[in-house]
Amino acid sequence: MSLVAAYRSSRELFVNLTLRELRSKYKRSFLGWAWSMLNPLATMFVYTIVFSLFFRAAPPPGVHGLNEYSLFLMCALLPWNFFQISIMGSIGSLVGNAGLIQKTYFERKLLPASNVGANLVSHLIEMGLLVAVLAGFGDWEAVTFIPVVLVLIAVMAVFAFGMGMLFSALNVYFRDVQHFMNIVLLVWLYLTPVIYPITTPGVQRFLPLLKLNPMTEMTECFRSVLYYGRFPTPAQFGYFLAAALVALAVGWAVFSHFQDDMAEEL
């Protein structure tokens, strides 16, 4: 089944599963949806205090002399968080919905897809707030670049969906995958210039290695449009997009290979 045909026949279910994720996520918590904002805010404060105050990490000045570590951080940290929780959520979505898989037939890829979809909704809200704050700091370019940001978020979602399919399918067979991925994503975060600027002298020595990491280009793309107020270079965007498409292709192939037997293996 092609991607488009699959989407067409499953659109309703995708929307419903996504709504289920969103509705059930903060059920019975007092602050409810506020949690989805409080989490990134808390990480922002911690990183800002540790890296800006203690380690004196200095981001290069942005557009209109914007020079605020916390904003510089959030331009890349929010996309990273979206990536991370989408992968981990996808991995959990198959095991967590074992009953559904064993008792009904539907396109199984919708489980990781709806997980990414639900996270995408919160991510869009977060990014909207970030753009508003950036504009408040005089970075009006962030507003004019909104269409580009949306394209980047879409590529990010494709990347996360591909990875989510790959590892959620493997996790059905080996439950180690979820623990393993926790570590992988932690290491990956620190190998990506999210928390520290890529211009840091110590980082520059490893630049060729760092450039192999598609997430490095991801941070550069998001920061270009949000923080520096300019288009990302075609090379940056191209590498990021290529990585996302490869992840989608591999994830799709692996998931398709395993999905017939999922009902038995869960």
Partner: protein, 399 residues
Amino acid sequence: MSAVVEADGVWKRFRLVHERNHSLKATVLRGRRVVAEEFWALKDVSFDVKQGETFGLIGENGSGKSTMLKCLTRILTPNKGSVRVEGKVSALLELGAGFHPELSGRENVFLNGAILGLTQNELKKRFDDIVDFAGIGPFIDEPVKNYSSGMYVRLGFSVAINVDPDVLFVDEVLAVGDEAFQRKCIERFNELSRAGKTVVLVSHGLSVVEALCDRVVWFSHGQVQRVGPPREVIEAYTDTVEVDRHVDEFGHPRWGSGEGRITGVMWLDERGQPTSRLYSGRPARLRLLFETSEPLEHPVFAVSITTPEGFEVSGPSSRDVGCVPEKLNGAGHVDVTFDRLRLLPGSYQLTLALTDFSRNHAFDVRKDLITFDVERGDSRETSGVAALDGQWEIVRADT
């Protein structure tokens, strides 16, 4: 008419897992992931179901009928062979599968409907019907975790049946819900088949299968034994299952595995003497004699009183009243005492059964073992078969 459901040479292999390694370490250390024995749950199964047919799958537990249904609904994939189903499919394999406990009934109806392939608009149109049919009423906006198990199942059934499928797959779900709801479900099946829809159902309830189905397939050890008209196939099936089905010395049908036997039955009067005279509304005692050739665990005695036309007036069992011993060995009798025999005058037949606790396995069943007559006694009611002896009172409204 053309076949809308087709199984063609389907083979399905299962692994009996002795030891499953869900972790990578164990897999690497032992060099393999699963220590398992393979067996074929389905062996070269072929049949087809025509448009508009109600088609039944019967067979003992583990015979492969539920596996077949899961292959037809694409939950499982056959190892060999192919299945083909035409048109919009809905399946009732487990009612309320996929309900999210924290979400309201309403939200879950929309989610479940979408899993079954309904669009939002179709669901909106049918929403009231779904809620009506389930009889959930104002609870529809409560989280389903607060539902009783009956409400949960009724809502699940109601969504699935309102999908308006071309082909409906049903697995044993008629065993749930109270009798009124079951009747509603059966009516709904009949409506579907009148509308030319195809129904494929798995059931242990042979009488339901016989009443509903146009054709039946009988599975045994993963293979099709026989396909054909319900009566014929069900008879062939019961002949093998009830191994020593035969008629007793009085010419009444008798079957069961024989570890325990019902050796006799009698009515006793107030003084405990055997009697053949029973009076409506007066005390009576039924005595069943039994003996066992080996200890029976949690045995259940059951009595069924029917009219000569076969209408069951009452079918109490010792399990209904919680009178089930841990173990039963040797010979003895069971007394069922009626303070007042609530049968109206007439002729009745008595069927007796000794079964295991699930009531699926029969040690001994003696159909229509005796016929007895009830004579006019203390009850003054005349119409029907049972005297409910209600208290009557007429109250006039004061004007």
